[in-house]
Amino acid sequence: MTFPLICFYLFAAATTLAALAVILVRNPVHAALCLVLTFFSAACTWLLADAEFLAIVLVLVYVGAVMVLFLFVVMMLDVDIDPLREGFIRALPVGLLVAAVMLAEMLALIGVRVMDMPVTPDPAAAAGVSNTTWLASALFSQYLLPFEVAALILTVAIIAAIPLTLRHRTGVRMQNPGKQVLVRPQDRLRIVKMVATKPAATSGEAPTP
């Protein structure tokens, strides 16, 4: 057993255990942190397979951005965790049954026919470049059209968010930063010249503003 293989088994076990912990721990914050560990361990196995770019993206995007956002939301919502757990035991037999059937199916699919899976040669190694270089050149040459279409899908997401969430509320007092910036001293402040030495003629009279 070589060292990379030992590492793979360790990382794979960590991934699986962390994924189990995500659904088993009681506290949603702990679950989110376990999910971070799952992503991180998965990224490690990808590194072992020489897919370093994908591994780094997984850590940067999922761990760095998505999960942090997720943690923010979980902490801000202050979820009452006990009612969430109520149906767990009742749903457990059905869940186990579904999981068992799925496991059997996957084993039938993968395990039995594992020998005839074609092993496609690593194109990056064949070209003699790093995984990241190969991925970049493939993305912008062979897969240029799908890459651009993916950009369109993101545009659609932005456009779709506007009619679904934008509401013009009436009677809301809002600041207008443009007007605030353009304000001049004479709009806000009036300097009144007064003679300083004039004695008060009568008491009780209001001073001129």
């Binding site: 699919l109 039995v112 026919r113 005839d116 899976m117 074609p118 496609t120 470049v129 270089t133 970049a136 050149s137 912008f140 040459s141 062979q142 897969y143 240029l144 059209l145 799908p146 279409v149 993916a150 369109l152 899908i153 545009t155 659609v156 997401a157 456009i159 779709a160 506007i162 009619p163 679904l164």
Partner: protein, 492 residues
């Protein structure tokens, strides 16, 4: 070291899609500066963009199928036919739906933009040459559709429909992707034509089990997008909950795109396994025909009834696939085009009757329509007779061609099932006609017609086209046949 090969001819091949994208971006920017009263400009510009795109599709149609971007995109005759009808039905959505959306305060620029992006997605989907393009085109279409269904966000029905559509649609996309990953695992390529060339479909072939497993997932994904039983659960709720103009879109243009996807995946990529998938589709078709036609009888909501009628018509389209030859696919494509045109009329009349605060979506809303407006009652009757398949209307010949294809394939039992349930289906279509002509109207006054004369003309022409195509259906069928023959030769 990085060798980026770029062929300028690729841009010519994708010119219609490029133009539509450019026009969409231009409309996006122009619409920002328009006031609500000037929104008609967006309407006109969108129609213009669709018309120019259609002209580019038609005029630049190559004699031989050409592929672009390393086989990601294929421009062939099947794509041309489907794209022209997709563009036509999207334009009908704009024309029929404008006043309806304005009455409901949904006449916003995003409506036009999302529909244009969805159209672009459909054009990519029916021209896909690779599993990646299939998936991305499909996502562009469905993501826009989810947002369109949810556009009326103050309606509980619409929101519920959108959530159902989104969750089930995401599940179906996941299943489709799972199937695609198996095809990739078995063949090592994403290119549809290369999958067919590389895969060993023979019994006892090296990766046959994996291919069959992948095929099952593909069929499930396709059946979901088409709305075939038992993957039809989303369809009635989405049809009923969505704004009627959007229902029209989902029922016509996106069904044509789903046909294109089914043909690309099943014939171009997995043609060698047709013995397997024709059996799956035959079962799906038989239960779709049964469930669609029987459950439609019980509906009182016209949009819901048309949803179940869609399910039964999808059964007919799948019958065309059972005969896995170009002639069979041509009959299925002919049927899908026919179905899109017929449904457009039916939803067009619903949109014509609808006013602010009144949906005209119950069958009782059509009571005595003949006394209130004989012309549009007649147009609706033509649509219903055509959907039912009464000769000499368009729908009859479409059914005839599909039945011929099934009998040619030697599946007599399927033809008998189809005929029996088509006769069952007569009941609910003719019920609408009966309600329009023989029931007393709830209000006696003449039907208040919308001010949009353009919509009334187009709707009348669309209705008359069902009669005209019923008499002169030959050229359209020939066109479908030639397109499929030419494209099938290329795909091999």
């Amino acid at each position: 070291m990085i060798n980026i090969a770029f062929n300028p001819n690729d841009l010519v091949t994708v010119l219609p899609e490029l133009f539509l994208l450019g026009a969409t971006c231009a409309i996006l920017l122009i619409d920002l500066f328009l006031k609500q009263a000037q929104r008609n400009l967006t309407h006109v510009l969108s129609l213009l963009a669709l018309a120019v795109t259609a002209w580019l599709v038609w005029s630049g149609s190559p004699a031989q199928a050409t592929s672009a971007f390393n086989g990601m995109f294929v421009r062939d005759a099947v794509g041309t036919v489907l794209k022209l009808f997709i563009l036509l039905t999207t334009a009908l959505v704009y024309v029929y739906g404008r006043l309806y959306m304005r009455d409901r305060k949904l006449f916003v620029g995003e409506l036009y933009l999302l529909l244009l992006f969805a159209t672009l997605g459909m054009m990519l989907l029916v021209s896909a040459g690779s599993l990646v393009t299939v998936y991305l085109g499909l996502e562009l279409l469905t993501l826009s559709s989810y947002a369109l269904v949810a556009l009326n966000r103050d309606s509980v029905m619409s929101s519920e429909a959108a959530i159902k559509y989104f969750v089930l649609g995401a599940l179906a996309s996941g299943l489709l992707l799972y199937g695609m990953s198996m095809l990739y695992g078995a063949t090592g390529t994403l290119d549809l034509a290369q999958i067919h060339a590389a895969a060993d479909f023979s019994v006892g072939g090296a990766h046959r089990n994996l291919l069959v497993f992948g095929l099952v997932f593909l069929v499930v994904g396709i059946a979901f997008k088409l709305g075939a039983v038992p993957f039809h659960m989303w369809l009635p709720d989405v049809y009923q909950g969505a704004p009627t103009a959007i229902t029209l879109f989902i029922g016509t243009a996106s069904k044509l795109a789903a046909f294109g996807m089914a043909w690309r995946l099943l014939e171009v990529a997995m043609g060698g396994l047709h013995a397997q998938w024709t059996l799956m589709l035959a079962i799906l078709a038989a239960i779709s025909l049964a469930v669609g036609n029987v459950v439609a009888i019980a509906q009182t909501n016209l949009k819901r009834m048309l949803a179940y009628s869609t399910i039964s018509h999808v059964g007919f389209v799948l019958l065309g696939f059972v005969n896995a030859t170009p002639a069979g696919y041509a009959s299925a494509m002919f049927y899908m085009i026919c179905y899109a045109l017929m449904t457009a009329v039916a939803f067009g009349v619903i949109l014509l009757l609808a006013r602010a605060g009144f949906e005209a979506e119950e069958i009782v809303d059509f009571k005595g329509l003949n006394q209130r407006n004989p012309w549009y009652a007649g147009v609706m009757a033509i649509a219903m007779f055509s959907l039912a398949g009464v000769p000499p209307l368009f729908g009859f010949f479409a059914k005839l061609m599909v039945l011929k294809a099934v009998i040619d394939a030697g599946q007599m039992w399927l033809a008998i099932v189809a005929i029996v349930f088509a006769i069952v289906g007569l009941f609910y279509y003719l019920n609408v006609v009966k309600v329009m002509y023989f029931d007393e109207p709830a209000e006696k006054n003449a039907l208040p017609l919308p001010a949009d004369t353009g919509m009334r003309w187009v709707l009348s022409l669309n209705g008359l086209a069902l009669i005209a195509l019923g008499i002169g259906w030959g050229p359209l069928l020939d066109w479908c046949n030639q397109a499929l023959l030419a494209s099938s030769q290329f795909a091999r």
